[in-house]
């Protein structure tokens, strides 16, 4: 009985310490030091919050960059991948559908399409695209917006993030950053 009573006391004290005091301490320090990140890296455009820099959102106009395909329709409150296995016929069908939905100009060579552009991300909310993906979208965006291809191309180059320290990750570009930049250019 002493042991049971002690176990209950240990559980309650540790629960308060580890389950309340610890996270609330991180909350306090995190919000004092990094308020932007702590709130979810929310991005404002023309005074309104338009999304998070880290969370992909559905884009339904051809004048903006499209993120990678999402198995969950970019549900910010329901992340997930397709979980389709490599030999599942449904996987081929899904990739074929993603390819058809690709908004690239006619005449684009199939073999130039990178796999990351037509295969669904793990989270369904992947905020980044590869440089090859971005460059394939440039002609379409130029046609829709009237911005020149060279302006859009240099936008991609400017916001490209390389591998961390040259060895970790992949060269890529954040879609939210690009799209806010396009919106800014269109305003002028």
């Amino acid at each position: 009985m002493t042991n049971l009573w002690r176990s209950i006391r240990v559980t309650l004290v540790m629960a308060v310490l580890l389950g309340l005091v610890y996270p609330l301490f991180i909350l306090l320090i995190g919000n004092l030091a990094f308020p932007f990140q702590a709130a979810g890296s929310m991005i404002k455009f023309q005074g309104h919050v338009v999304g998070s820099e880290l969370i992909a959102q559905q884009v339904n106009t051809s004048g903006l960059f499209h993120p990678r395909p999402s198995a969950v329709q970019y549900a910010g409150n329901g992340s997930g991948g397709s979980n389709l296995g490599p030999t599942n016929p449904a996987l081929i069908q899904e990739i074929r559908n993603n390819e058809r939905a690709l908004n690239v100009l006619p005449g684009t060579k199939l073999s130039s399409i990178p796999t990351d552009m037509v295969e669904s991300s793990a989270s369904g909310l992947d905020p980044d695209i590869s440089i090859a993906d971005a460059m394939l979208q440039v002609p379409r965006i130029a046609q829709t917006t009237g911005l020149s291809q060279s302006v859009l191309g240099s936008l991609v180059r400017r916001y490209e993030t390389g591998r961390f320290l040259g060895i970790w990750g992949e060269p890529m570009v954040n879609v939210m950053t690009l799209n806010v930049a396009i919106k800014e250019l269109m305003k002028k």
Binding site: A15, G19, P23, L64, S82, L84, G85, A122
Partner: protein, 564 residues
């Protein structure tokens, strides 16, 4: 495969090994009873906690008293978390209006987190309130890691005891691992994580009008504080459904590398701690070399398989490149592969890539690592498994060369071998039998997502993950059914506690044996050839037991994919 990717993988492993040595030394000093420089900081805090909890810090325990306290407090914490999950709908800190969990899911989740498994039959952002994420999940992520860790420490004490039954005080060890290791490390890591983009907020989901004028609801919450202990404690249960693939849990290549290092740190450090306890650095070195070797070989098999892509996609659609289905751009194939290898070697279970969509060989390696359950392994229990395999290897080689088996100066007798065999056999038993049951029942097969051979892999993976207390999944399988909630729950409990109890019973008898001085007749365990025997035992026992099951899952799928 790219040069940068390869160097990135190797560099991460080197950093882990370099950090593990000072960390292992620190752990040794904290738990061997040495006084340390930081005592004047920690003592007042710990004494305060002992008083609050009614703990007599100076008393000593034998193996039975130690494990009784451990099991009892685990049971109380399990019930506590179960209640939180069942009642979360009516408790505070629930801005998104999450409902209380049904009984079977709450049972599965509470068991999953107390056993350090972190198997998730729910989607975090839709099924858990902030209070549950903090007071249920984050809390158990600390204490389950601490439980495994102190079990290993107590076993090490028994191993070096000379005819003494005392193996320490469970409560003191349990508090100390929190105050001196887990809490300080988690606090630092969590603050760094916020700086690198992980949210830490009690505000509910953000509702925004997107750039295209659509509505999007973005879930967030106290993520960074959970993420730090999720990785450090080899837990793996994510805040969100997509786990470390979710950009809020793992926003960049840098955070992914930090997460890999965090989950590897203490399991690798324990090898150094082990070497210091038995006063034999060479033994630690040999284990480091063989275990790191297996980890690297496995990781590069995953990497090359993922990087060479899916031939069926190329054939059908004319698209060439690495397999990016279920992967995130910021990690690419290299960091996804390393994370997959590490999370199953260190039995964490966090994922930054969807394992169900891995190529057959890419999915085979994580299964194999969990079947071995010994490639460094999870917090504490990994070292216990290593010791169990060492004892089996000593016994087998003793038989081969005709010497009395002994390990670190202690005679291995019938009782120890029986217990080691029990701990060894329970693992395949609770994987293969439930898999077979699931595959012949409708309740077991109807939640499978992928057809054919891959569907078998989904079920095999689930029970392997539960038995190894890993928690990663071939997530196409819909585990949130009464059948899987209960079956997986029971497998997790057996997988966790039967081997710990068996190893403790062994510790009890080892502790009371006298240490025999080394002689020419001693079979040395700190040699390269013995390391080879150890590895052979792991591979033969581990791989051969599971070979038939693997051959109808990932191995057959591999041939199907390449031959068509």
């Amino acid at each position: 495969m790219t040069l940068a990717g390869t160097i990135g993988i190797l560099a991460t492993i080197v950093i882990i090994l370099l950090l593990s040595i000072p960390m292992g030394k620190y752990l040794y000093h904290v738990f061997s009873g040495d006084s340390t420089r930081m005592d004047h900081v920690f003592h007042p805090v710990e004494n305060g906690l002992y008083r609050l909890m009614g703990i007599n810090a100076s008393s000593q325990m034998d193996w039975k008293a130690y494990i009784k306290s451990m099991l009892l407090v685990n049971l109380v914490m399990l019930l506590f978390a179960y209640l939180i999950f069942r009642l979360q709908g009516s408790l505070p800190l629930n801005p998104d209006g999450i409902k209380s969990m049904p009984w079977d899911l709450a049972f599965n989740t509470a068991v999953s987190f107390i056993t350090n498994t972190n198997w998730q039959n729910y989607a975090g952002e839709q099924s858990l309130s902030y209070l549950s994420q903090m007071l249920g999940i984050t809390f158990l992520q600390f204490t389950s890691a601490a439980t495994g860790f102190v079990a290993a420490i107590a076993f090490l004490r028994a191993l070096v005891n000379n005819k003494s039954r005392w193996i320490g005080n469970f409560w003191v060890d349990f508090i100390k691992i929190h105050t001196r290791v887990l809490l300080p490390l988690a606090t630092i890591l969590a603050i760094v994580f916020v700086g690198l983009g992980l949210p830490e907020t009690l505000a509910g989901a953000a509702k925004v009008h997107t750039l295209s004028g659509l509505l999007q609801t973005i879930s967030r919450g106290p993520v960074a504080s959970l993420e730090a202990i999720k990785q450090l404690g080899t837990n793996g249960g994510g805040f969100f459904n997509a786990n470390s693939a979710h950009p809020f849990e793992d926003p960049s290549a840098l955070t992914s590398v930090l997460e890999i290092i965090a989950m590897a740190l203490i399991p690798t450090a324990l090898i150094t701690t082990f070497g210091m306890f038995i006063k034999n650095r060479r033994q630690a070195l040999i284990l480091y070399v063989f275990l790191t070797g297996v980890l690297l070989v496995g990781t590069f098999v995953i990497y090359s398989s993922e990087a060479s892509g899916n031939p069926m996609v190329s054939h059908a659609l004319g698209i060439y490149g690495p397999n990016m289905e279920g992967k995130e751009m910021r990690f690419g194939p290299a960091l996804s592969s390393l994370f997959t290898g590490a999370t199953t070697a260190f039995t964490t279970g966090a994922v930054n890539t969807m394992h169900d969509s891995l190529t057959p060989l890419g999915g085979l390696i994580p299964m194999l690592f969990m079947m071995f359950n010994v490639i460094f392994g999870g917090k504490g229990v990994g070292l216990l498994n290593i010791l169990m395999y060492l004892i089996i290897a000593v016994f087998l080689s003793g038989l081969m060369v005709g010497r009395t088996p002994e390990i670190f100066g202690k005679k291995i007798e019938a009782r120890e071998i029986k217990l080691a065999t029990l701990a060894l056999l329970v693992h395949p038993f609770i994987i293969l039998v439930p898999t077979a049951i699931a595959l012949i029942t409708k309740a077991g097969t109807s939640p499978i997502l992928n057809p054919g051979l891959h569907g078998i892999s989904e079920v095999l993976y689930a029970f392997t993950s539960a038995a190894a207390n890993n928690g990663s999944a071939f997530a196409g399988l819909n585990g949130n059914t009464i059948f899987y909630n209960l079956m997986l729950g029971v497998v997790m409990l057996i997988g966790r506690y039967v081997s710990i109890i068996a190893m403790f019973a062994m510790a009890g008898s080892l502790a009371q044996k006298s240490i025999i001085p080394e002689s020419v007749g001693t079979l040395r365990t700190d040699t390269w050839s013995f390391g080879g025997v150890f590895l052979a035992v792991v591979v033969i026992v581990g791989a051969l037991t599971f070979f038939p099951a693997l051959s109808v899952g990932p191995i057959a799928e591999y041939f199907h994919m390449w031959i068509g």
